[in-house]
């Protein structure tokens, strides 16, 4: 969940101005609610990942087509993450150098992590969390130099602004939908909801901290115009022995990027395997090469923004997707069994599904 999004999170939320600091909590609630249908659905197919579920629910051809679309979206998402990060690295650490080498090295290490399977990815994510979370301490200097009065008033925005901020900001939160892919590999499947919620709220806590400190520290104009507020917050750190802490911060960020990229890599590899119904180590390398090439494709900034932006919207769709799948599953099972028992959970799912559609439709 935490990768590039966190760096520019306050900027994306800037539409609502100073009131943005409590938005992460709102996002957290949304995220927590949206994992309910995911887990419910995954619980119905304990042994199968989303790719397999598609094939079961929609039939072979249709399922594979959907999977194909998913894989393409995944590739674009990954390319977006990697490219944004590398641009950042170029900005901060390698001002006058090409990014070919770092890109290849980054992908190599990501492949290295993903090669050993989901276990390795999970372990890396845990260690990345432990290593990078102390960086929160660096926010101290930002807090010291800000005005706490920026936190008030609370609801100083219009509905339109709120929607715009949500649309932009929620893209940083996405990532937990991968749960549907690695669910079959979870040992304690009964406690998934609890653990996933804890995970979501931990990362929401970091988002909350960052946006709050940004609100306290920056002026409203700065929030709207500073592209990477977190970087700027790093710059305010004053240590006697280090000048530009943001260089270290950004290079250290590679742990978060790698945890995201390797997780996506693994999921995409699984996707290709489900497409070809065959397991092969080469799939991982193929995916990595495709993404590297995608990052290399010279596109203008606006085109990139467009493509990547759409890809992120697609991931919103993916978050809502399980609702639809649950419906299909329900209809199918009703047809199959002739019963019409509708659990409360499903009812809630449908409700949320409808709500979200309304919400997205307005946008």
């Amino acid at each position: 969940m935490i990768a590039m999004g966190l760096l520019s999170f306050p900027y994306q939320l800037s539409a609502v101005g100073y009131s943005q600091w409590w938005l992460p909590i709102f996002f957290g609630i949304i995220a927590n609610v949206t994992i309910i249908p995911m887990i419910w659905l995954a619980g119905k197919y304990k042994e199968d990942s989303l790719f397999k579920i598609h094939e079961i629910l929609f039939g072979r051809i249709m399922g594979k087509t959907i999977n194909m679309v998913l894989i393409i979206i995944g590739c674009i998402l990954m390319a977006a993450t990697v490219e944004r990060y590398l641009e950042m690295i170029q900005l901060v650490a390698f001002p006058y150098r090409t990014l070919t080498g770092p890109l290849i090295m980054l992908m190599l290490v990501a492949v290295f992590i993903a090669k050993r399977g989901i276990k390795s990815v999970a372990r890396f994510c845990i260690i990345a969390f432990f290593l990078t979370s102390p960086m929160v301490y660096l926010l101290r200097w930002g807090l010291e130099e800000g005005k706490i009065t920026h936190l008030l008033p609370l609801f100083n925005f219009t509905g339109k602004e709120f929607l715009a901020a949500t649309k932009e900001g929620y893209s940083s939160i996405v990532g937990y939908e991968l749960l549907m892919f690695y669910f079959p590999y979870i040992i304690n499947q009964k406690k998934v909801f609890k653990h996933a919620s804890i995970g979501i709220w931990i990362s929401i806590f970091f988002y909350f901290l960052i946006s709050m400190v940004s609100v306290i520290h920056f002026s409203e104009w700065q929030l709207k115009n500073v592209l990477y507020p977190v970087l700027n917050l790093f710059k305010y750190v004053e240590l006697s022995f280090l000048e530009k802490i943001d260089t270290i911060g950004i290079t250290f960020w590679v742990f978060l990027i790698l945890s995201t990229v390797s997780a996506y890599l693994w999921v995409l590899k699984e996707g290709i395997e489900s497409l070809r119904s065959k397991k092969h180590a080469a799939h991982l390398y193929i995916i990595a090469v495709i993404i590297t090439v995608m990052v290399f494709i010279p596109l203008s900034q606006s085109q990139e923004e467009k493509i990547y932006g759409h890809a992120f919207y697609a991931s919103y769709a993916l978050i809502l997707w399980p609702n639809l799948l649950s419906l299909v599953h329900m209809i199918k099972s009703r047809k199959g069994r002739g019963s019409n028992d509708k659990s409360k959970m499903v009812y809630i799912c449908c409700l949320f599904n409808r709500l979200f559609r309304l919400y997205v439709g307005k946008r």
Binding site: A93, R123, L242, K244, V254
Partner: protein, 663 residues
């Protein structure tokens, strides 16, 4: 006519044999094969004559040897000449006759009737005496030096022998399976009879000294010594380099010359059917005693090579705590562990590994603590080891490690008995090896590589401080010089202005990029360290001084490296020796080069990528199937009490997560 009768009879017997389908007992068959193999091995001419003497005594002589009753004797071993002829004869018809002899004859050849057997071996003391007794005159008749008798014993000609003993297995079976009563006699379930029979068979196997000599040929220190005792001549065979003469005198020579009865009843019996095992025990340093008259072989443990005394450790010294360290002797090492953990639960399982070296190892564990799955896994791995020779436990360690390609040691090794005992009480498995002063501990985690037994003897505050120092020392030593490279090459902005000026000033005369500079000076340090460790200590000092001057001032003055770098390299070299595990400090030095190169290529970003690789590698490593990074995965809360910070001892009661101990 005669032939057809024989044929019919043979077929009948075969049927009977198949019906009975009582296979020959495996041990008997083994013995049978052994005797055949002994015969075959003794091919060389000088051996042949003796062989004859052993195997085929002349009926008349046989009488003298085995039983005073001529008729019985006849029944046992010597088919009368006419029958013999029938068996051996070149005539094809007669040849057939061999395959199916008349039951009575058969009886006579192989299986004496129970009554007869009794007569031979039974409780009849007088007869027994006749066979084994100390009666000198009869003994003489058996083994005596009288050449004519010897000749007589050599008895039957080789072809005859072959005919009787060398029948192919199926025929032998057929012969055995003839008469049911005979069958009974052979495989009688009655243990006493069985025993008597075995004894008879055993007594009939004579040890071929020449064969042993043949096997020990070209071994310069092999000693054959004949000693005259009350029980006749005894030949002592041993390797003089493995056996101390004083020990030999004390434990062998004096007892057999003075208290032979005692020796016969207390010393270990050797399996005289198995020449190979006898030779093996000689090579292992045991002394073999062959009693010619009694046809009896004993072996004595006389292995007594020179051993190093128990001394303090050079590599794992501590200020407080016990100072003794393991030696090269497995026995001494085991005793050092056993005197620390006095309880019957401490198990030591012996194994022999190494195809050529036959090295003894001992798997040590506390039975009620160790994880059975771990133990089984380890034993399986040891069983699969296929390697010619082992000279230190570290060799075995590399072979049975989970990931042999990793630069990190996955099992701990120590020379300290106190440390070993601590690990054992934590439910770990320890392997000790003969000729190795190190023992291996498994499974172990990455963090535990930074623990020293002294941590438990110091106050918890000091211990925690030292552990923090060691643990972070590892990461500093791999990051310090790479940081210098990336700062000066890619991110000069990282430094405060004053520091940067100072750095640049000291580097102003250096014409190389920082990577080359660092690689140069790191390599010089490595060379100094390596040459220092190979040099004799007196020259080593000189090297140290020369190296110090070369690195300290000359290199800087010559403009090869900067002052600051000298400080950094020296600090990182010192830090790399902080780790109590020597293999870990070696690993840290190797990993540092990866970081130096990646910093040279991509600066701080490269360093972080390398760090990510390192963590991923460590996370994927396992030690005996348990994750190497154990405080991270699997997480066990109580492990934190004895982690980077060592809590006061009364917090540390439970065993660690990685051991998955029973309690």
């Amino acid at each position: 006519m005669c032939v057809s009768i024989w044929k019919e009879l043979w077929n009948k017997l075969m049927e009977q044999a198949n019906k009975a389908k009582q296979p020959v007992k495996p041990d008997q068959q083994d013995k049978e094969e052994q005797s055949v193999s002994i015969e075959k091995q003794g091919k060389p001419d000088d051996v042949k004559s003796q062989q004859k003497a052993i195997e085929g005594p002349d009926p008349s002589q046989q009488k003298a040897i085995e039983g005073p009753d001529p008729s019985q004797q006849k029944a046992i071993e010597g088919p009368d000449p006419s029958q013999q002829k029938a068996i051996e004869g070149p005539d094809p018809s007669q040849q057939k006759a061999i395959e199916g002899p008349d039951p009575s004859q058969q009886k006579a050849i192989e299986g004496p009737k129970p009554s007869q057997q009794k007569a031979i071996e039974g409780p009849d003391l007088w007869q027994q005496k006749a066979i084994e007794g100390p009666d000198p005159s009869k003994q003489k008749a058996i083994e005596g030096p009288d050449p004519s008798q010897q000749k007589a014993i050599r008895g039957l000609d080789p072809s005859q022998q072959k005919a009787i003993r060398g029948l192919d297995p199926t025929q032998q079976k057929a012969i055995r399976g003839l008469d049911l009563s005979q069958q009974k006699a052979i495989e009688d379930p009655d243990p006493s009879k069985q025993k008597a029979k075995e004894k008879l068979a055993d007594n009939q196997v004579f040890v071929n000294l020449n064969l042993i000599k043949q096997k020990l040929k070209n071994i310069g220190d092999a000693v054959y010594k004949d000693i005259q005792t009350d029980e006749g001549t005894v030949t002592m065979i041993y390797l003089s380099t493995l056996v101390d003469s004083k020990k030999l005198l004390e434990s062998v020579t004096l007892p057999i010359t003075n208290e032979i009865e005692h020796v016969l009843s207390t010393f270990d019996c050797a399996d005289k059917n198995n020449i190979d095992s006898m030779v093996m025990s000689i090579v292992e340093g045991e002394t073999i005693l062959y009693f010619h008259q009694l046809n009896h072989v004993l072996k004595v443990k006389t292995f007594s090579p020179q051993e190093r005394a128990i001394s303090t450790s050079d590599t794992e010294t501590t200020v407080i705590g016990p100072q003794d360290a393991f030696t090269e002797s497995l026995q001494t090492n085991l005793s050092m562990i056993k005197r620390r953990i006095t309880q019957p639960g401490l198990k030591t399982v012996d194994r022999i590994i190494g195809k050529e070296t036959n090295t003894k190892i001992s798997i040590i564990y506390v039975e009620h603590l160790v994880n059975d799955e771990n133990l089984k896994r380890l034993e399986d791995r040891i069983a699969k080891v296929d390697y010619p020779g082992f000279f230190d436990i570290t060799m075995l360690k590399q072979i049975i490690e989970d990931d042999p390609y990793s630069p990190f040691p996955q099992y701990f090794h120590t020379v300290r008995p106190d440390s070993t005992a601590l690990w054992l009480l934590d439910g770990r498995i320890v392997i000790a090896m003969d000729n190795s002063p190190n023992v291996m501990v498994c499974p172990t985690s990455f963090l535990e590589m930074f623990f020293s037994p002294e941590d438990f003897y110091n106050r918890w505050t000091t211990a925690s401080m030292l552990r923090i120092l060691r643990f972070f020392g590892f990461f500093i030593t791999i990051m310090l010089t790479p940081m210098y490279i990336s700062t000066l090459t890619y991110h000069p902005g990282l430094m405060p202005y004053e520091l940067l000026i100072m750095l640049q000033e000291s580097r102003s005369r250096v014409p190389f990029p920082p990577v080359i500079e660092v690689l140069f000076i790191e390599l010089v340090i490595e060379v100094l360290r390596e040459s220092g460790s190979r040099m004799p200590s007196k020259i080593g000092q000189t090297i140290g001084i020369v190296g110090g001057i070369v690195i300290g001032t000359a290199a800087v003055e010559a403009g090869l490296v900067s002052n600051t770098l000298i400080v950094l390299v020296a600090v990182s070299a010192l830090l790399s020796f902080l780790m109590p595990s020597f293999l870990m400090s070696n690993a840290s030095r190797f990993v540092r080069y990866i970081f130096i190169l990646s910093a040279g290529v991509f600066g701080l970003f490269g360093q972080m990528l390398a760090l990510a690789w390192l963590f991923n590698h460590l996370l994927n490593l396992t030690s005996l199937g348990t994750p190497y990074m154990t405080p991270v995965i699997p997480r066990k809360m109580t492990d934190l009490y004895d982690g980077i910070i060592r809590f006061p001892l009364h917090f540390i009661r439970k065993t660690r997560g990685i051991a998955r101990a029973k309690k």
